[in-house]
Every structure is written in structure tokens, then in C-alpha cells.
């Protein structure tokens, strides 16, 4: 991107606009154009990516706490043999809701929430491509999430596991409404995830700052792009299968009924074709966090940028070819199993390369050991263990032994907590100043990191041994004669330590929001565009839309760096740039604040929730959605110059 083309853009757009925009006077216009109307309807109709991103993050952390409470109840129940704290009926609801909450209501939405908040700031734009779709996605997610928990507290919590294997989850054995709640919750959250993914893909490909060619995008934006593409390919499989499960349960189809020619294994294929990529959908954004934090706190360029991008992309690609390693015990042919063993081992290569690249980056850096960096160091150590046990269970013979045991419980928590939650907590410490304008307390952060790291390992490391000693997953109790008591007690103690560590960070967040030290624009002297604007950013993100000429714009920022002119300040306009090179292409005006997305989400909610009880919910809900969509797509009143052009 040269200054030449920017001036060209400027000339083009000047011809189109009726008045010249004086940037010095534009602040008032920008504020008016991008601030939501006051009052409740403004709040409910907010379409700003920062507001929606914050809502996703806050809601997801709320469910993280709830899911964590369920985990602690399970740990208390398992702390000693033959405990009768909770019976099997409640325990099954608790472990199902714990898994479903952590996967669908916490991990995916929190990563997408960070993407929604940060990506437009990192790209140097003012909102996402489809702001109303964004609001719709959030409301749909919220309705589905609350629905699942209303189910649990009314003793209608799903109880067949977050994987919902049929026939246990089917109409014959999963009686009552419990698994209907689960199936529809899935549909809600996947719909939301798809909406966010499409939004982020289009935003990343079409709204980058002029000059931010693909090879200059921040690594977190790459991670978000790769993840969003995975969502688009993975979610349809689970929406299909949860739809088939719902119709088996509600209108007596026989997709999974062996007695009528259906097949219970079909469920497992469809579910894991989604659910294994799901792990990477959670994990790859965390890789983006790690790269961002390493660059900022080691104060050096990321080593092997292209190799990092290729590693994440190939992880995403191979991630779709490994689902059968969840099904080695189902009796599939040996040759096919060998293929999936090879694919599952293959995926260790790009991940290994990324680890080596980070070592090389740290090697040449100058590290500032802030809390965010400490969480990333904790990630390196713990994720290595999860990755290596992942290599073990790729081997069919080993998997046949440890599959469905506490060994797997250990493995998956090493991957998801060590691999994703540690970087996420690092990201909280890193970007909190940008979100709120205030600093988190670093001493509390260090203490939290130490407790989380120690508590986590104390909880989950002994579970490897429990699995080898024969303890299956998803058992609500065990007999003293098994000898599993002491390690389970150890795990329970660790879980509470982990819980205290998380609570310290939550308290830190609550306190710092009010009383934290003022952060300023760029407290870490970091590299990305998000640090070049105020903290918290104004509603319009950037007073002057930036252009970039390399990967670390905030570090280089030469005084003669051009800015974009010609995008109107008095209307919510975005600059659209080309896909590969981010050349300025045209302007687009975004839709305004409206409660139509909320109304459409409520209509969707009536459809899905009502359909559990009566088929009539489908036409009624569809009609409500149509009304909301009419409101949504109602044309805005024409601008003056459009009337002039039309000759009126």
C-alpha cells in the first residue's frame, strides 16, 4: 500500500461526497454516528462489535464459573469411595451439563467473543461486516445457554453425556425432556457460532486497513480466520445430527434405531466429525493468544511467521481427518484404524513446529515476566503433556486400554485447560487494559497463575494413573476395594486450589474495573493496531482509520504513515478492501442499531424450545422470525444525495 493509492482513494471518495470532511471537526460526527441510542432499546439493540464481544466474554465466563462449580461438586462426590453426596441421577445431569457448558457455552463463545472484540481493532476498522447478525448470534447463544441451565435447575438437565450417544440419548432410553433440552441447546449454540464465524471471515477478508495484506495480518487474526473456517465446516455436521436426534425423539424417525435399520454408530461418526475439530476450534484461537503475548512480552518479532500460519492451517485441515480415533473400540476394520492412527500422529507435526518456533522466538527476545507471559509459560509445560498423551492415544492398542477412562479425562483437560484456558487467562491479563482502560493487579495475577498451575496439575496428573488402574469415566462412585480413593482425594484437593486461583483472577477483574491503575493507550508497548487507539476504544475505534506497511504497525509507526481519508464521519461507514492485498476498494454503510436481531432471536427461541413440546411451535416461531426479519431488512430512509440522484 503506497501513499499514492491512498491519495487516489481520497480523490475518488471526495467526488462522491457532498462536503469535504474536516477530520479535526469529525469527532462529534463520529461519536454521533457510532454511539448507540440511549436507554433500554439502545442497549438491547446494540450492534457494536465491542459491546457484543464484551457480552460474549462476560456471559461465557459466567458459564465458566457455573461449569466450574459443577466440577467441584463432582470432585467432592468422588473424593472418597461410596460417597452419597449426590446420587447417580443428579450426577449424570451434572457431568453432562458440565461438559456441555464448558464446550458449548464457555470455550467456543469466549474465543469467539475475544475475536469479535479484538479483530476489528487489530484490522483498523470500526465494526464487523454484519453488525445485526452479530447481535442475533449473541442473543441466540444467550437463550440456548439459559435454556440448558433452566433445564438443570428444574431437574430436566440432560443426562446422557455431552456426547449424547444413542440409543441412551434416544427416545427409548432417554425418556422425558432432558435430552431434548440438550439437542436444542446444541442447535442454538451452533447457530450462534456459525453467525460469528461468517461475520469474522468476511470482516477479516474485506475490512483490513489498507496495506494489511494477508502476509501482514496479526497472528491472532490468522488464528481467528482459520478457526472460523473450521466452524463453517464442522458445525453443519452437528446441527444435522442434533436435528436427526431431535426428530428421532420428537417425531419418531429412526435414524439411529438399529431395530428399524438405523445405526447408532452413525451418530458417533457425525458427532465426532464435528467434535474433534471442535477441540481445535477452541485451541487454535489460544495459539493466536500465545503468539500475540510472546511477541509483546518477549519484545521481538515472531520467528517463522509463515510457518506459524501454515502450521495452524494444516492443524485445522488434518483436524477433520482424525475423528475415528474416538471410536477405536467400536470394532471398525483394522486398516481404517491405521489410517486414523497415522492422521492423529501427523497432527503432532505442525503443533511441534509451532512449539519450536516459539522457543526460537523466546530465544532471541527480552522477556518481561508479566502475568500474561507467566500464563503462556504455564501453557508450554502443561500443553506438552496433553500433546504427548494425545500421541499415545493415537495408537490403537494404547487407546483401547485408556479410552473412556480417567486417563482421557486427564488428557482432555491438559489440552483444553493447559492448551486453551491458560492462554485465555493470559489474554485476559494482556487485553484487559484495552477493554477497560485499567490495569489488573500483577501481584494478584502472579498468585492466581501459581495456584491455577499447581492446582491444575495436582487435579489432573493423578488421573492418568487412575485410568491405568482401571477407573472408567463418568462413574458417580467407586468401591473402596478398587484402591482409587487416595488419588481421587488428591485430585479433589487440587481442584479446589485451581478454583481459588480462578476466583483470584475474577476478583482482580471486578476490583480493577473500578480501581485499577489507569492503563493509557499502550501499557505494554505492544505491536498491534489495537494499541494505537484509546483504552477503552471510542465507539468508532479509530479517529483516523490507519494504514499499515508491516506486521508490527505500533512498533514502526513512522510519522509519515498515511491515514485513510474520505470515509464519512457522520454515518457508520466502513472501508472495504481487497481480499489479498487490502487495497482500498469501496465504502459501505452499516446497518443501524435495532432490536430486530433480538426479536429474531426470540422467534428462533420460540421455534426451538417450543418444538420440544408441540410441532405447532415450528410454524408459529417461523412466523415470528419472518416478522422480525421484515423489521431487520426494512430499508433505511434514503440519504439526501440519493434522492438527488434519483431526481426527486
Amino acid at each position: 500500500m503506497t501513499a499514492e493509492t491512498v491519495r487516489e482513494t481520497e480523490r475518488d471518495t471526495e467526488r462522491e461526497t457532498e462536503r469535504e470532511i474536516d477530520l479535526a471537526d469529525a469527532t462529534a460526527d463520529l461519536t454521533r454516528a457510532w454511539t448507540r441510542p440511549a436507554g433500554l432499546s439502545g442497549w438491547l439493540g446494540d450492534v457494536d462489535h465491542k459491546a457484543i464481544g464484551r457480552r460474549y466474554i462476560a456471559t461465557a465466563f459466567g458459564f465458566f464459573v457455573l461449569g466450574g462449580v459443577l466440577a467441584l461438586i463432582m470432585r467432592l462426590q468422588l473424593a472418597r469411595p461410596n460417597s452419597d453426596l449426590v446420587g447417580p441421577d443428579l450426577y449424570d445431569q451434572i457431568f453432562t451439563t458440565h461438559g456441555s457448558t464448558m464446550m458449548f457455552l464457555f470455550a467456543v463463545p469466549v474465543m469467539q467473543g475475544f475475536g469479535l472484540y479484538l479483530v476489528p481493532l487489530m484490522l483498523g476498522t470500526r465494526n464487523v461486516a454484519f453488525p445485526r447478525l452479530n447481535a442475533y448470534g449473541y442473543w441466540v447463544y444467550l437463550i440456548g445457554a439459559v435454556f440448558l441451565w433452566v433445564g438443570l435447575v428444574t431437574n430436566t438437565g440432560p443426562d446422557a453425556g455431552w456426547f449424547a450417544y444413542v440409543p441412551l440419548a434416544g427416545p427409548e432410553y432417554g425418556t422425558g425432556k432432558r435430552m431434548d433440552v440438550w439437542a436444542q441447546m446444541i442447535t442454538f449454540t451452533e447457530l450462534s457460532a456459525l453467525a460469528v464465524a461468517i461475520n469474522l471471515i468476511v470482516t477479516i477478508l474485506k475490512h483490513r486497513a489498507p496495506g494489511m495484506a494477508l502476509h501482514r495480518m496479526p497472528m491472532f487474526v490468522w488464528a481467528t480466520l482459520v478457526t472460523s473456517v473450521m466452524v463453517v465446516f464442522a458445525m453443519p455436521a452437528v446441527m444435522l445430527s442434533s436435528g436427526m436426534l431431535a426428530s428421532d425423539r420428537l417425531i419418531s424417525t429412526h435414524f439411529f434405531n438399529a431395530a428399524e435399520g438405523g445405526d447408532p454408530l452413525l451418530w458417533q461418526h457425525l458427532f465426532w466429525y464435528f467434535a474433534h475439530p471442535e477441540v481445535y476450534i477452541i485451541f487454535i484461537p489460544a495459539l493466536g493468544f500465545v503468539s500475540s503475548i510472546v511477541v509483546a512480552f518477549a519484545r521481538t518479532q515472531l520467528f517463522g511467521y509463515t510457518a506459524q500460519v501454515l502450521s495452524m492451517s494444516s492443524t485445522a485441515f488434518i483436524g477433520f481427518g482424525v475423528w475415528v480415533h474416538h471410536m477405536f473400540a467400536t470394532g471398525l476394520p483394522q486398516l481404517g484404524q491405521s489410517f486414523f492412527t497415522a492422521a492423529s500422529l501427523l497432527i503432532a507435526i505442525p503443533t511441534g513446529i509451532q512449539m519450536f518456533l516459539w522457543i526460537a522466538t523466546l530465544w532471541r527476545g527480552r522477556i518481561h515476566l508479566a502475568t500474561a507471559m507467566l500464563f503462556v509459560l504455564a501453557f508450554f509445560a502443561t500443553f506438552m503433556i496433553g500433546g504427548l498423551t494425545g500421541v499415545m492415544i493415537a495408537a490403537v492398542p494404547l487407546d483401547l486400554q485408556v479410552h473412556d477412562t480417567f486417563f482421557i479425562v486427564a488428557h482432555l483437560h491438559y489440552v483444553l485447560i493447559g492448551g486453551a484456558v491458560f492462554p485465555l487467562l493470559g489474554a485476559v491479563y494482556y487485553w484487559f487494559p484495552k477493554l477497560t482502560g485499567r490495569m489488573l493487579d500483577e501481584r494478584a495475577g502472579t498468585l492466581s497463575c501459581a495456584l491455577v498451575f499447581a492446582g491444575f496439575n495436582l487435579t489432573f496428573f493423578p488421573m492418568h494413573q487412575l485410568g491405568l488402574d482401571g477407573m472408567p469415566r463418568r462413574v458417580f462412585t467407586y468401591d473402596a476395594a478398587t484402591g482409587w480413593g487416595p488419588l481421587n482425594l488428591t485430585a479433589t484437593i487440587g481442584a479446589f486450589m485451581l478454583g481459588v486461583g480462578v476466583v483470584i483472577t475474577l476478583v482482580n477483574v471486578v476490583v480493577a474495573r473500578r480501581r485499577g491503575a489507569i492503563a493509557g493507550d499502550d501499557p505494554w508497548r505492544a505491536d498491534g493496531l489495537e494499541w494505537t487507539t484509546a483504552s477503552p476504544p471510542p465507539p468508532y475505534n479509530f479517529h483516523e482509520l490507519p494504514t499499515v506497511r508491516d506486521r508490527y504497525p505500533a512498533w514502526t509507526s513512522p510519522p509519515d504513515q498515511p491515514v485513510v481519508h474520505g470515509v464519512r464521519a457522520d454515518r457508520p461507514e466502513l472501508l472495504v478492501t481487497t481480499v489479498v492485498d487490502a487495497e482500498p476498494d469501496h465504502r459501505t454503510e452499516l446497518a443501524s442499531t435495532t432490536v430486530a436481531p433480538l426479536s429474531a432471536a426470540l422467534g428462533t427461541g420460540v421455534t426451538f424450545i417450543g418444538s420440544i413440546f408441540t410441532p405447532w411451535a415450528v410454524p408459529v416461531g417461523a412466523a415470528l422470525v419472518v416478522v422480525a426479519l421484515v423489521m431487520w431488512f426494512w430499508p433505511r430512509p434514503p440519504h439526501r444525495e440519493e434522492l438527488v440522484e434519483a431526481g426527486r
Binding site: I349, H368, M392
Partner: protein, 325 residues
């Protein structure tokens, strides 16, 4: 009495031994890789922390082409070693997989059918004459040193057969017949339990495998193929009348009598078994009485309903059942 063996790392047959060997290989390679990689992170971090403390912040955009070349060589070498290790592990995994399947062609194998049910195991030793097939529950008896061919299926939801000291697991899936082959080379008792979540009492669905010398096993099986012992005394005769006149008979079969229910465990030789309710209780008269009167108190959700009996009837029933050796 020693406790039944239950550990992946305590193999009693060729398959579990092959897997334990593979486990050791993977474990030590993983430990090696972990130590190297974490040590590299630690050294890189300590170096960089010290450099900052000594020299302060440098220019983050400073170029160091010589350092980059060294780093590229390092990453490429580490990547190549990773690929080589993974390839070696793949070969080891596939050859172990072949070893696991090596018992498949043993023509002398004993055939046993195992059916998973919520929440117990039905075990059938078939015979060319169906009248001589033996059916038992939750205790799989096998001869030491002989290949056993297990046919696995489910009558309701998916279960998984897993006895860690013998072999990895294999699922029992409704509408499908899965097969697995095992051999136990050391006499003894081996514990396992259902490994696929199957509902409320998934935690209490244990199975015990008894590996006995061939002569002992043959005697056991010959006895199991016999019909039930006739009631030995008047109290037992009355007990049988109680059994046949109560809901018990709707679900339980006793070979040689009119009791032919097929939903619950076969009771022909129930008294010869060591446990009740899939390992939930020891098989004593007191436990049997509790189980009959209040199964929901012992295994909540169990498909066995509570049966209300007068004390004298209960006593007679227990006498009869205790005689079913």
C-alpha cells in the same frame, strides 16, 4: 484371598502384555521429548529474562540474520526428529495392533457370548444342543492358556467390555455383533467394569474374569450346563413355590423348572456366583435378602423392582435360592 487384578500395567495375557510393552515405549519417548522441549523453553526464557534485566529493552525490530539462520536450522532439525519419532511410533503401533489380532485364527478357541444389559453382563457358553448351553451373569470363567473368542452385543444401550489386565476394550452395540479374542496365561481373578457410559448404574456394572486350570474350568462348565438342583428340603420346596408365585419369575429363568424369564440374570446356578447385582454386593444370604427387598436402595435406577414378601416367605425363598449351586 487376594483382590482381583485390575491394571493396564499388570498384564496376564499376551494382548495386555503387548499393550503394556507399547505403553512403556511411548511413555519413555514422551518423557524424553518432554524433558528436551521443556528444558529448551526454560533455557530460552531464562536467557531472555536475563538479557532484558542486563541490557533493558532493545529494538524489537532489530534484525539478526546469523541468529535467524541458526534458529531455522534448529527448527528444521527438531521438526525432522519429530517426524522420525512419530514414524517409529506409527510402526510400533501398527505392529502391536497386528500382534493383538494374532489370536483370531485359533481354531481351538472357546466361544462365549457376552451381552451387555443395563446394568449387568449376560454370559452364555453355547452348545450344539441348546439344552446344554450354559447361561450365567457377571462372572466370566475361562481356561488358562486357551484362546477365548468373545462375541459381544447389547440388549439395550451401548456398553463396553474392559478387563484391563487382559486386553483393551471393545464396545457392545445394539444391532451389531463385535468380536474380540483373549487369552489368559496366569490363573487368577481379574476385575473389569463397563467402560461406556450406559445410564444410571454405569458405575456399578462390574465383571470378574476367573481364569482356572483347564480341568477346573471343564468341571465348572460341565456343572453350569446342568439344570438347577432340585429343592433339597421342605423349606426349599416352599421357597420355589414363593419364587414361582411372585414377580421374580417374570424376569428370571431357572433351567429345569418352569421359570423362564429372560430380562434378568439366569439364576440356575446363582448361588455358585461370588457377587450379586454385577459386583455391587457379596453373595451372602443377608445381601440377597436386602437386594430382593430393596434393590433401589442398593442400585438406584436398577430395573429390578422391590418385592414385598412376608418374613417366612422370604426365608423360604432364600433357602431355595441358596441351594441353586
Amino acid at each position: 484371598v487376594t483382590a482381583p487384578r485390575v491394571s493396564v500395567l499388570d498384564p496376564a495375557g499376551p494382548q495386555a502384555a503387548a499393550i503394556a510393552w507399547l505403553w512403556d515405549l511411548f511413555l519413555w519417548i514422551s518423557v524424553f521429548v518432554f524433558v528436551i522441549v521443556v528444558a529448551s523453553f526454560a533455557v530460552a526464557t531464562i536467557r531472555a529474562v536475563r538479557r532484558r534485566r542486563r541490557d533493558g529493552d532493545g529494538d524489537p525490530l532489530a534484525e539478526n540474520p546469523a541468529g535467524d539462520r541458526r534458529a531455522i536450522r534448529g527448527v528444521v532439525a527438531a521438526g525432522a526428529i519429530t517426524v522420525a519419532i512419530l514414524f517409529g511410533l506409527l510402526i510400533a503401533s501398527i505392529s502391536s495392533g497386528n500382534a493383538l489380532a494374532s489370536l483370531e485364527d485359533d481354531a481351538d478357541a472357546l466361544h462365549v457370548r457376552v451381552t451387555g444389559r443395563q446394568w449387568w453382563w449376560q454370559i452364555e457358553y453355547e452348545h450344539d444342543d441348546p439344552g446344554h448351553s450354559a447361561t450365567t451373569a457377571n462372572e466370566l470363567h475361562v481356561p488358562v492358556g486357551r484362546t477365548v473368542h468373545l462375541e459381544l452385543t447389547s440388549a439395550d444401550v451401548i456398553h463396553s467390555f474392559w478387563v484391563p489386565s487382559i486386553h483393551g476394550k471393545k464396545d457392545l452395540i445394539p444391532g451389531r455383533l463385535n468380536r474380540t479374542w483373549i487369552r489368559i496365561d496366569q490363573p487368577g481373578e481379574y476385575r473389569g467394569q463397563c467402560a461406556e457410559f450406559c445410564g444410571l448404574e454405569h458405575a456399578r456394572m462390574a465383571i470378574t474374569v476367573h481364569a482356572d486350570p483347564p480341568a477346573v474350568f471343564d468341571a465348572w462348565l460341565a456343572h453350569q450346563r446342568e439344570p438347577a438342583a432340585a429343592p433339597a428340603n421342605a423349606e426349599a420346596v416352599r421357597g420355589q413355590q414363593v419364587f414361582n408365585g411372585s414377580p421374580c419369575v417374570l424376569c428370571h429363568a431357572i433351567a429345569g423348572t418352569t421359570a423362564g424369564g429372560r430380562l434378568g440374570p439366569d439364576l440356575t446356578h446363582a448361588a455358585s456366583r461370588k457377587t450379586l447385582a454385577a459386583g455391587a454386593l457379596g453373595n451372602t444370604a443377608g445381601n440377597l435378602a436386602s437386594w430382593i427387598l430393596d434393590p433401589q436402595g442398593i442400585k438406584p435406577g436398577s430395573h429390578m423392582p422391590a418385592t414385598t414378601l412376608a418374613p417366612s416367605d422370604l426365608h423360604a425363598l432364600l433357602t431355595y435360592l441358596e441351594g441353586l449351586r
